[in-house]
């Protein structure tokens, strides 16, 4: 099976600190469930954002779980070069602007005009407009807060955080199915941006 794996800089496992060799098979340290080689289907990518994205070949039985797959062996087959610092920054902006779009919807539902917010192009501009909104309450207030926070995190370069905020905002507006729906939009964004 061919899948994907996010790693920290230098092919480093973000939770184990293990430095992955390139193009060499790596066996799971034990056969215990959960201790295998973890990787992502395209739909799983938004949950595991990191600096490097690799294509990984998996072997042995592959167990598919909700947000990842697990195999007994894996081999980094090649780096996805299009996932770089610029892509990471663009993904952060995508998350923040999605949170903004959801806030615009919430404000519209509440009968509050938000043309300036919908038209805002940059994160700085979006944040300024959000901060100049009249006093809000209930869902519109919550949505504006998510959008503002997502902008702040995106401006800070925290792509995983900004996009997570967008997914949480989707739950606030659309209900429990919003989270998976927003993560799905994000995985499609990554796939298109990186040509996966």
């Amino acid at each position: 099976m061919i899948a994907y794996k996010f790693l920290a800089a230098g092919r480093t496992g973000p939770f184990t600190g293990y430095v992955w060799p390139e193009r060499q098979w790596v066996d799971a340290p034990s056969s215990r469930e959960g201790a295998g080689v973890h990787a992502c289907r395209i739909a799983d990518l938004p949950f595991w954002i990191d600096h490097e994205l690799w294509q990984i070949e998996l072997a042995g039985p592959v167990v598919e779980r909700e947000t990842q797959v697990e195999a007994r062996r894996g081999r980094l087959a090649g780096r996805v070069g299009s996932w770089d610092a610029r892509a990471l920054a663009e993904f952060a902006v995508h998350g923040a602007l999605r949170a903004r779009d959801l806030a615009v919807l919430a404000l519209g539902d509440a009968g509050i005009r938000s043309d300036a917010l919908a038209r805002a192009v940059t994160l700085q501009e979006t944040r300024v407009v959000l901060e100049s909104l009249p006093a809000l309450s209930g869902v519109p207030a919550e949505m504006a807060a998510y959008a503002r926070e997502a902008c702040t995190r995106a401006l800070d370069g925290a792509a995983a955080s900004a996009t997570h905020m967008a997914a949480v905002a989707a739950v606030a507006l659309l209900g429990p199915t919003g989270f998976a729906a927003e993560r799905s939009i994000q995985s499609r964004w990554i796939a298109e941006r990186c040509g996966l």
Partner: protein, 83 residues
């Protein structure tokens, strides 16, 4: 804000679970949620790094050169925190 995604861990829960995470004692489900939280939460990621470094540094201590008074004081403080 309320917790909008019930299966996600809060930062307070992360602090409670960090020892089990570092000792590899979490269930598969909890471990997955723990790691997902680390991806999007810089604060918790820094906290886990700090805990790892503390464990690493304290593992290197041999206890030699520690006066009896200091040892007694440390034990007293430790027992105090375990009440």
């Amino acid at each position: 804000m309320t917790r909008r995604v019930p299966e996600e861990l809060t930062c307070a829960e992360m602090v409670r679970l960090v020892t089990d995470f570092l000792e590899d004692a979490l269930s598969l489900e909890d471990r997955t949620h723990f790691e997902q939280h680390l991806v999007f939460c810089k604060g918790c990621a820094a906290y886990v790094r700090q805990m790892r470094k503390t464990i690493e540094a304290s593992s290197a201590l041999k206890g030699e050169g520690l006066s009896a008074e200091a040892q007694a004081e440390l034990l007293r403080l430790f027992k105090g925190t375990c009440k």
